[in-house]
Structure formats: structure tokens, C-alpha cells
């Protein structure tokens, strides 16, 4: 972070000490988060596998753990714990790479945040496994879980806030020491990601602290459901960008290095992240299109804003393929698609994120369908939606995280990625791809046939339509099995990279920017302005409808425990 710490890092590198790419202390922080995320991946993946088995009727419920407990654990472990912990580990690594040594204060904050997250997850998991919180990972009011479940969630979120405070502090320190210089691109993007998370979690924290926890504790006996759902979805949609942005950081800054190319444009990369911050929030109603109590006009306003958040993804798609083509041409590729042959498909660090990008093409199109006002009615709450986010977070994001782990874990552990582990990684990636194609295709199609999501083994009076769904359930179980095998292969690779791979210095891939790219304007560092605009857009999209919800609130609804 300063001259001394740079020298220290230099010294460490010369001595060939482990984790030479980043400092040992920094590596420990990153590795704690990443290894925690791997445990969540194992548990969450196992629950997912069992779910597909219970739904096909292959196995009955196990040890009294019902379908909805499995479903709750699957969602929480994968969508919340695996993603968030892996993201924090990855971002700490990016900041260590960008800034060098962490000062002692932000380091202590990072560890404090970690322990909070761990405690929160333990409390939540305990409640779910004890059957006290089968409320799924969306915990919609007025379902009433045990108070400890909500307290665990609050502690987890506080942990993430403490961790983000550590990152903000590092960024501010760097800026103070480097006037009129852009902090490195990875650092900028990392800060944007946690800022987005912090602003988003304000909504879910509000509904837990002021509505769900008091109801669960018995301090209040009624809850305003539409308000709670609106606060939840104010959080729920930016949440998906919180998953996506770290994958985009890898796509923008790491992948170009691996394909022997360069970052297409530093300024446009920053611009796309800035647009994500601005447009991620005022869009939550597109999850509530079929709900009473919200006017169709404000739903449409948020649909329009939802479409704006597609623009930075279009920019990202352009940058990726521009990077690939330029890299391919440098390597001697000819013609429009000559670059396709020049990509390093045998390198898992490239292959897994690249397949993730390919998944994201239909996933993005599906997202446009889901958000399209009237069209939503065809797919809402059907398995189509589940299929949608199995190819977004479950493929585009997960594959990018898997591919990154193959360099991140050895960097953090001072070990090297061997050719044997590379091959294992390729197999693991192929297994994930095949498994996810089975699972997500079956979900999308049976969703269009009306098969509801989040539903246990249903018979529905032996209706003929139910028979039509059965082959798709089988395909989901086959996909789930292959996906679980992929998780096992991944964890074997991660174990080797953590404990048995040869010691050495694994490359931390960070690309440079194209020389032809123009300078980055300083307005990107005007944080006060961008945070103001973010909240102004939130106020625009939400003030009137929330005011309407409170003014015209129905008599409150009591809480229920129906499991």
C-alpha cells in the first residue's frame, strides 16, 4: 500500500516465499473466505441432488428432512453463502493484487467480518436443519421462522458490511496516497461490487429488522406483506448483479491475460460497472409483476428501467469478443472468425469462464422475456424461472468462479496449478456444462408446460399434464447427478491445490489495457455524485408506489408457521 510494503513484497518475491504474488497475510484472508464457500458448495450441491431425487420419487424423504428443508438449504447455501463468500475471497485477492499490503486496521476488519459471516451462517444452517425455518431463501412474509434464523441473517449481513468497510478503507487509503491517479481497474470494479451489495442489503435488512424479526419474536402480531416483498425485491434484483459483477471483473481483467490479449478499454469497463450501480436498484417490481396492490403504471416504469440495465451487459459482450478477436489476430488468426481457433480451450482458467459466457447469451435473452411486463405471466413461478437462474448464476457465474479458483487457490496457498489438475479441471468443466444443459433445458421446457417451481413431488389428482412433466423431472435428476459429480471433481482439485500441489508461484493473471485505448476520464472517481444519482433513481422508482402501499395498506396479516 505504501513504499515500504511494496519493498516487503519485492523482498518476499525475491526469496521465493510462498504466496509471492500477494502477501501471506492477505492470502490468508482470501483463503478463509474461499474455503468457507467450498463447504457451502458441497452442502448446497448435495441438497440440490437430493431434491431432484425426491421430486422424481427416486428416494423418499431422508431422515425426516423434507423437500422444502432441502430446498431452503440448497438456495441459502448456493445462492447466498457460496456466492458471497467466494466473492469476498476473490475481491480481497484483487485488492491485494492492486494495492499490495493491507494495513493492520482493514485486515482486522476483514477478519471480524469473516467471523460474523461464519457465525451468521452457522445460526441459519442450524435453524434450517432443525426444521425451524423452512421458509426458502426468500423467506416471504408472513411465513414465520424461528427468531434465530433472522438473527443469523442479520449477523451475516453485518459481517458483509464490516468486510466491505475494510475494502472501502483500503481504497480510500490508496486514493489519499495517489492523488489524481486512477486506482487499478480491478480495485475500482471490486469496490463497485461491494458498494452495490451494501446499498442493496439496506432493503432486506429493513424488512428483517423492522418487520420479520419483531413478528417472529412476538413483539408485533401483524405484518405488511406487500411492503415486505417490495423491500425484499429492492434487494433481490441487485443481488443478482452482485453475483454477476465479480464474474465480469474476471471476464474484463483476467481472461484477456489468459488468451494473451489485452483489456479492450479501461474507460468502457469502468463505465459498464458504473451503469450497473445506477440501474440495478430501481427494477425490483419486475419480480412482482403479478402482484396486487402495485399499480400497473409503476410496474411498467420499472420494466423500462430494467431494460436499461441490459446496456452494460451489451457493452461487456462487445468488449469480450473484441478482446478475443484482437488476441486471435495477434496470434496470427485470419478472417472474421479465425480467432475462434486461437483460444486456449485446454486451459481451464479460460474454458470454464468462456462456457459461462456462452450460457449467458440465452440466459440474458431469457431475462428480457421474464422482465417483459405481460410476457412474464407465461413463465412466472414456473420451473422456467428456476432454469433461468441455473444458467445465469448456476452457469455463467458459477463456471467463472470455478475457472478462477484454479488460479486463485494456488495463488493464495503458494502452490502451482499442475497439468494433471488442469486436466481434472477440464473434465470438471465439461461435466458441469453437460449437467447444466440437462437440468436447465428440462426446467425451461417443463416450465413452459406449466410446471410450478419450488414444488415437492406433486400428483395433482393424476392429471394428464403431470405425466407430461415426468420425463423432465428425470432429465433434471440426471443433470443434478452429473452436476454433483462435477462438484466432487472440483473439490478434489481444490483440495490438491490447497494441500498437495507443488509449492511455487502461480501467476495471478491481470491483463494490461490496449495501447490504442484512450485515457480514462477522472469523473469515474466522483463517488459522491454517483451515489447521489443511485439514490435519486431509487427515489424516483420507489417513492410513489411505496407511499401508496403505506397509505393504502390493508389490515396487517398475522404470521404463520405451516411446515
Amino acid at each position: 500500500m505504501n513504499a515500504i510494503s511494496k519493498k516487503l513484497k519485492q523482498f518476499e518475491m525475491e526469496r521465493g516465499m510462498p504466496a509471492a504474488e500477494i502477501g501471506l497475510k492477505e492470502a490468508r484472508i482470501g483463503y478463509a473466505h474461499v474455503s468457507f464457500s467450498l463447504v457451502a458448495l458441497l452442502i448446497g450441491g448435495l441438497c440440490g441432488l437430493l431434491q431432484t431425487m425426491v421430486r422424481t420419487g427416486t428416494i423418499p424423504e431422508i431422515a425426516g428432512i423434507g423437500y422444502y428443508e432441502l430446498l431452503t438449504a440448497h438456495g441459502l447455501m448456493l445462492a447466498i453463502v457460496f456466492t458471497t463468500l467466494f466473492i469476498y475471497g476473490l475481491l480481497y485477492a484483487f485488492l491485494a493484487q492492486s494495492f499490495g499490503r493491507f494495513e493492520s486496521f482493514p485486515s482486522r476488519l476483514a477478519w471480524l467480518g469473516f467471523w460474523f459471516m461464519l457465525l451468521g451462517v452457522l445460526l441459519v444452517t442450524w435453524m434450517v436443519l432443525a426444521g425451524e425455518a423452512s421458509v426458502l431463501y426468500t423467506f416471504y412474509a408472513p411465513l414465520k421462522a424461528h427468531p434465530v434464523f433472522y438473527i443469523g441473517l442479520v449477523i451475516f449481513v453485518i459481517g458483509t458490511w464490516i468486510g466491505s468497510a475494510a475494502m472501502f478503507r483500503m481504497y480510500a487509503d490508496y486514493k489519499r496516497e495517489h492523488k489524481n491517479v486512477h486506482p487499478p481497474l480491478q480495485a475500482y470494479m471490486s469496490i463497485m461490487t461491494v458498494l452495490l451489495w451494501d446499498v442493496a442489503t439496506l432493503g432486506v435488512a429493513a424488512t428483517i429488522l423492522f418487520q420479520l424479526l419483531p413478528l417472529s419474536l412476538g413483539w408485533t402480531d401483524k405484518v405488511g406483506i406487500e411492503l415486505s416483498r417490495t423491500l425484499f425485491w429492492y434487494f433481490g434484483h441487485p443481488l443478482v448483479y452482485f453475483w454477476l459483477l465479480p464474474a465480469y471483473i474476471v471476464w474484463y481483467t483476467v481472461i484477456p491475460k489468459i488468451v494473451k490479449g489485452k483489456i479492450f478499454s479501461d474507460a468502457l469497463a469502468r463505465m459498464s460497472f458504473l451503469l450497473f450501480l445506477l440501474f440495478s436498484f430501481p427494477v425490483g417490481f419486475h419480480h412482482q409483476l403479478l402482484e396486487p396492490g402495485i399499480s400497473a403504471f409503476w410496474k411498467y416504469v420499472q420494466v423500462v428501467l430494467t431494460f436499461l440495465v441490459i446496456i452494460p451487459s451489451l457493452m461487456t459482450a462487445f468488449s469480450m469478443f473484441a478482446t478475443f478477436e484482437l488476441a486471435g489476430r495477434r496470434l496470427g488468426a485470419k478472417g472474421l472468425f479465425g480467432w475462434v481457433k486461437k483460444m486456449p480451450y485446454r486451459d481451464v482458467r479460460f474454458l470454464a469462464p468462456f462456457i459461462g459466457m456462452l450460457f449467458f447469451i440465452p440466459a440474458g435473452a431469457g431475462g428480457v422475456i421474464n422482465a417483459s411486463h405481460q410476457l412474464n405471466i407465461v413463465v412466472h413461478n414456473t420451473l422456467w424461472v428456476t432454469g433461468h437462474f441455473h444458467i445465469t448464476v448456476g452457469a455463467a457465474v458459477a463456471l467463472t468462479f470455478f475457472g478462477s479458483a484454479y488460479w486463485l487457490v494456488p495463488v493464495l496457498r503458494g502452490r502451482t496449478l499442475t497439468p494433471a489438475i488442469q486436466r481434472l479441471g477440464i473434465w470438471q468443466t465439461m461435466a458441469w456444462t453437460v449437467g447444466m444443459l440437462f437440468m436447465s433445458t428440462a426446467m425451461h421446457i417443463s416450465g413452459l408446460l406449466g410446471n410450478p417451481r419450488r414444488t415437492g413431488p406433486a400428483k395433482y389428482f393424476q392429471d394428464s399434464i403431470v405425466a407430461d412433466w415426468i420425463p423432465y423431472h428425470t432429465a433434471m435428476a440426471i443433470g443434478g447427478t452429473i452436476l454433483f459429480i462435477s462438484i466432487i471433481l472440483f473439490l478434489v482439485a481444490m483440495y490438491k491445490l490447497s494441500f498437495t500441489a507443488p509449492r511455487g508461484t502461480e501467476e495471478f493473471p491481470v491483463a494490461e489495457t490496449e495501447e490504442a485505448a484512450m485515457d480514462t476520464p477522472m469523473f469515474f472517481e466522483n463517488w459522491k455524485l454517483w451515489i447521489f444519482v443511485t439514490f435519486a433513481l431509487i427515489a424516483f422508482a420507489y417513492t410513489v408506489p411505496i407511499w401508496h402501499m403505506i397509505e393504502n395498506a390493508p389490515p396487517g396479516a398475522p404470521g404463520w408457521r405451516l411446515w
Binding site: E291, P292, L308, P452
Partner: protein, 158 residues
């Protein structure tokens, strides 16, 4: 800030497409009235049984070929149960919940809405084909959620 010429073309094309999509769904919503179910009517969720018209849930003929189905969702059933209408009938569904949030989806149709305690939600649908239609709850409501369903029989009128 410099933007590559091809990127400009790509973004202009992309944004133009988004504008076309938004115009289509906007015209459909505001000119043709194809809005998602957004009923603003309120009800006390603890007094559903005493509140008209939900004190007498059921299917009523209100005009030639037009019916009103007043329905109550609760864990884990719809009231009334099996209903029957002649082919070509239009049903106006009025639905509310006595406990938690439920879904109301008629499989093979575009009837799909959220049923939220404290609110009444509504949709209309014309059943042009005879047959049995399955109504399912598509929002998790508890451990009997997958058993929550009923049927509408649409019969050939004589």
C-alpha cells in the same frame, strides 16, 4: 471518452432493439389494456370469512356466458373445489388468501397471479376449449404446498 466505431454500431443497434421491445409492450399495456394483474382492492386477511363476497365463495353466473368465481386460498386448498362451466364461458376470478402468500395458476392458460393476504387479485379468462383445467398454487406456502390444487371442468354445451 473514446468509443470504438463498431462498438457504437453495436450499442445503437442494441439500444434500438430495447426501445422497440419497450414500445411493443408499452402499446400493448396502455393502448390495448394488456396489463398484468394489479388489483388494488383491500381486505382484512383475518376476516375473510365475514367479508363480502368471500363469505360465500363459489361460482355465480352473472350474465350470458359470464361467470364470477369468488375463491379463497388457504393452506393447502382452494375454495370452492371443482367447478364446471360450459365451453366458451368467461370467468372473472376474484381471489384472496386467508393465511400466507399463494399462487394461482391455471395450467395451459395465461392465468397466473399472486394471491397476497390483505389484497384481492383478479383476472378474467375465456375457456374456448372443452376439457379439464388444473389450477395449482405456484408459490411456496408450507409443507403441503404441492398438494394445493383444484380443477375447472369446461364442458361442451348442448
Amino acid at each position: 471518452m473514446h468509443i470504438h466505431k463498431l462498438e457504437k454500431v453495436w450499442l445503437i443497434f442494441g439500444v434500438a432493439m430495447l426501445a422497440v421491445f419497450l414500445t411493443i409492450i408499452g402499446v400493448s399495456a396502455f393502448a390495448s389494456g394488456n396489463q398484468p394483474p394489479s388489483d388494488a382492492t383491500l381486505i382484512d386477511p383475518t376476516k375473510v370469512d365475514q367479508t363480502k363476497p368471500f363469505d360465500k365463495p363459489g361460482l355465480t353466473k352473472i350474465d350470458d356466458g359470464v361467470y364470477e368465481a369468488v375463491m379463497v386460498s388457504q393452506a393447502f386448498q382452494f375454495t370452492p373445489g371443482d367447478m364446471e362451466v360450459p365451453k366458451g364461458a368467461t370467468i372473472n376470478f376474484l381471489v384472496t388468501s386467508k393465511d400466507v402468500v399463494h399462487g394461482f395458476q391455471i395450467v395451459k392458460t395465461n392465468v397466473n397471479m399472486m394471491v397476497v393476504p390483505g389484497h384481492i387479485n383478479s383476472m378474467s379468462y375465456t375457456f374456448k376449449e372443452a376439457g379439464e383445467y388444473l389450477i395449482v398454487c405456484n408459490e411456496y406456502c408450507g409443507n403441503g404446498h404441492h398438494m394445493m390444487a383444484t380443477k375447472i371442468k369446461v364442458v361442451d354445451s348442448e
